[in-house]
Amino acid sequence: MKKSALIDLIGIKMLFILLILLFACVLSPALSFSQPIVLGVPISRGYPDGVDAERGITLAVEEINAAGGVNVGGAKRPFKVEISDTRDLEAGVPVAEALLATERLIIEQKANFIVGGPIRSEAALAAMDVVSKHKTVSILSAGVLSPAYSKRVEENYDKYKYCFRTTGSVVPMIGGTLKTFESIKAKKGFDKAYIMVQDVAHARAAGNLLKEGLEKQGWKVLALEIYPTGTTDFSVGLSKAKDSKAQILIPWFDMPEVSILMKQWFDMKIPALPIGYIHALQDEGTWKATDGKVAYAVVLYAKAGSVATKAIPMSEGFVPNHKKKFGVEPRSEWTSTSYTVVYILKDAIERAKSLNPDTIIPALEKTDMMGTYGRVKFDPKNHQIIENGDPKETAVGMWAQWIDGKRTIVFPDKIATKSLEMPPWMK
């Protein structure tokens, strides 16, 4: 064979191969070489909250990619997750670490968007400047309940317009909590509360707001006790609650040692129902781990979705899918929020038909979709998710009571699957 004929043959073969690949890409978007949309996820991976957020994001991305990806102006593009460990939940780790992790995602990993964390309020507030400097849209979906976040956006919109938050803020969270206590007062006739909070900023603030709000509702607040992080004995406080004839205990803790409080409450048969933000008791495995000593405890989730309810259709798909992939039901609220945040972003990108922040920001501001915790809408002035109403209209939190080894939703009434139960020693 002549040399020129051989070259022609190779050229024709290569042309055929290219054509086949081109057809394959057109017919199957999964095989396309379209550039992925990079989601930078700065989270504290050494803590359950970080793992919860990672799981939610991973599950949503896999579902979206399996369904063909995101339609960006007619081109289907998959999501790609890049995770960076901020270590912001670890004691003694400076905020700078979280900022470096976030910036690394933007500069080195070329993240188009930041989702998830940082989780600790101090780190997230500092990271607002980093994402804004790089004009990268960020949607927080884990932790960060400080009202300062949305306040900063509202006060300096042009600078911080890139920052959105779906986790919630302690102010509306307390508003929702007070509504729940109003309902308990009306249904059970209780009017004596004993507040026990952790010695951290958000819990102390919550304790003060609750005390003030409950007293306005006609409750007698017997005590507001503050416990250092790491406290391993609550016997004195529990004895005082019993002696003062408290009817409800309001714990507000995010430390794991709070399980000791619940075990002591159960063992001492304290005749006051524990109902509060007890983060360590949100996990599905808590019942087994405590031999059922969390029975009757009512636990607040900042956002619904960890337990399926017919009132929120998306939760009914999310919970079993999570269990199928990870072997457990979603643990904390941050799995639900982090799962939904990917869908929020997909929705906004598809409406904006672009990844450009200038078009994505208005699209996000006009978000109106159903998530795992109700309807998702942002306040366009401060980019805070609107919450505490009807799940058909706004995002909602959830109160789940531990009954017979399961978490059952008891408040708010619109999504409740059962009514509140009392322990036998309170009947």
Partner: protein, 288 residues
């Protein structure tokens, strides 16, 4: 009565947490900063044997304590022996080992609140009108039994007497044929086993977290500073002083002041009696 019962429980918990640390220092003059890590290692190991390997609860406890005891000896024999006699290096090396162990668990995902050990006996009992769970009563019993056994061991066994001899006068005991490195290995192994026993009786009250390791180390150091480093009786004095001070503070001032009271006691001790309440450096018979 509430204050007495829960103060007693709190004090025995602190004494148990500090006993291994105090024993090692008392014998080998080594501040084992891996103490807290060994404590949670036993917790996680027991959990793994029980829930992953399928060994029964008692078997899991025994296996974990034996394993950590061997590990303690190995840590001294192959690592700490190289920096022996250099206090700062000993602290840095043992702290590094401790951090490595604790962060290994974090890295491997042992970070859920669901890591808990079951109580030995479920249920509660009323003592003079105060409801208390059986596990706390067991802690008191185990704590007192450990103290008694340790006293018998150090006063009536050959190995125990050799540990006391080294603690009292290293050179004189070497002349009597006692090998200091061998006794140091034994003390590390025993100290680790003590931290393990403390872990398996205390951890069923709550859950096992990496942070618990740091907390246990801090508590052990606080008790030993107040009671007197190297003094066995001082451990009890320090533990009871701190244990009741914490409970009284929670009852009459507010639980948020508990840590302040602990720090205040440490500062006062260091100002008024730097060697601790019973840390009489010259009264060697008090040691071990």
């Amino acid at each position: 009565m509430n204050i007495f019962i829960f103060g007693l429980v709190n004090s025995v918990i602190l004494a148990l947490m500090a006993s291994g640390f105090a024993l090692v220092y008392g014998v080998s003059r080594l501040a084992n900063f891996a103490h807290g890590a060994l404590y949670i290692l036993v917790g996680f190991a027991t959990w793994l044997f029980l829930n992953r390997v399928g060994v029964n609860y008692i078997g899991s406890i025994i296996l974990s304590i034996i394993a950590v005891s061997v590990l303690g000896g190995v840590i001294y024999r192959f690592l700490l022996i190289r920096v022996k006699g250099m206090p700062a290096s000993e602290i840095i090396a043992s702290l590094a080992i401790g951090i490595a162990i604790m962060e290994l668990f974090r890295w491997r995902g042992f970070i859920s609140e669901a890591y808990m050990l079951p109580p030995f006996v479920n249920g509660s009992v009323s003592i003079a009108g105060v409801m208390i769970d059986w596990q706390r009563l067991i802690i008191i019993g185990v704590g007192l039994a450990i103290m008694l056994l340790l006293w018998l061991f150090t006063h009536h066994t050959k190995v125990g007497l050799s540990l006391r001899a080294i603690a009292q006068d290293k050179h004189a005991s070497m002349m009597s044929g006692i090998e200091p490195d061998r006794t140091a290995v034994i003390s590390l192994a025993m100290g680790s086993a003590l931290s393990g026993i403390a872990a398996v009786v205390i951890l069923p009250l709550g859950n096992i977290t990496v942070e618990t390791g740091y907390m246990v180390l801090t508590n052990a150091i606080a008790v030993c500073i107040i009671g007197g480093l190297g003094s066995w009786a001082g451990v009890f004095a320090g533990a009871f002083l701190l244990g009741f001070a914490e409970i009284l503070t929670a009852a009459f001032i507010g639980p948020q002041w508990q840590m302040v009271v602990v720090l205040l006691f440490i500062i006062l001790t260091l100002i008024l009696k730097p060697s601790g309440l019973l840390g009489k450096q010259k009264e060697l018979e008090e040691r071990v």
